[in-house]
């Protein structure tokens, strides 16, 4: 029989990693942040079991750790509203396709970026995204709609530029 941690927390590992990687754009840093988040989750113990939404807690914790990373390394002027991140060595090694995804996502405000990522990369339903981000389903839909509108314009601009 699986423990609570194995059943409810561990499955979020890769999802969280990809979300953190989206923010920090460095695999080693993302890995460190993920480790910290899981340690914090473990230390929470029974409190996490009593929460209605442990996924939301994990997300918040990961975001706070990423924010802390940016503050300590001073790579961003602002976060969460900032769009520009310093280029890391990881970005130079990314494929063209993933690079295009990141460059597009950098244009989006934080909430739209998160909703877009959770839908397009993680394949979550609106309800699951709402739980993760601790917002209403209607807000998820609005954010996703705006993100895809920006995507449409972005792709059209690229097409015209080619």
């Amino acid at each position: 029989m699986k423990t609570f941690f194995e059943a409810k927390i561990w499955p979020f590992k890769n999802q969280l990693y990809r979300m953190v990687y989206l923010w920090v754009k460095d695999r080693d840093v993302a890995q460190d942040i993920l480790q910290t988040v899981f340690e914090r989750a473990w230390m929470q113990g029974s409190s996490l079991q009593k929460m209605d939404n442990p996924a939301g807690w994990l997300m918040k914790c990961a975001k706070n750790e990423s924010l802390q990373h940016f503050r300590s390394s001073k790579k961003l002027v602002e976060f969460p509203e900032a769009e520009i991140a310093a280029q890391t060595s990881d970005e130079k090694n990314l494929s063209e396709e993933v690079g295009i995804v990141f460059r597009f996502m950098e244009r989006l405000p934080e909430k739209q970026r998160e909703a877009f990522h959770l839908r397009e990369v993680e394949g979550l339903t609106y309800e699951e995204i709402a739980d993760y981000l601790e917002i209403s389903m209607e807000q998820v839909k609005v954010n996703l709609h705006r993100a895809r509108k920006t995507l449409k314009e972005y792709l059209m601009a690229r097409q015209d530029g080619r």
């Binding site: 941690f5 990687y21 993920l34 295009i100 990369v121 996703l144 995507l151 080619r162």
Partner: protein, 145 residues
Amino acid sequence: MEDRLNYLLERYWNAESSLEEEKELKELIRQSEDWTEQKILFEGLQELKQFEAGPIQEMPNVASKRISFLWLKIAALFLIFLVSISVSYRYFEKRAEEKAYEQVLAAFELIQENFQKAKENLEPFEDLRYLQSSFKLLDPTHTDD
């Protein structure tokens, strides 16, 4: 196929598509010879989905940190216990000394009291001094020089 693709794409831009429709849309775009930019972006998203975290340090190491912290708490409590025992012992020792001192004082008082009584009892015999002097007066051989 093109009609279906355009229909799904319109629903996609409006955030009205279901997950199944989006999956179908992406497959149709992948198979299409056009829609180059969309194709690149969806491929990028698919590639990003393959990113996985490295191994996470086993949680029992974190548990051992909790256990170490627990031992630290136990050690601190034990230290507090020892200090309080030591303080209590010194307090009681001091009290015992004070009590012994009081008892010695009480003993001296008793001695003094009894000495005073004895002195009072001997007062009548003080007059015997004078008795010896009277004998001297009556002694014909006694002279005061």
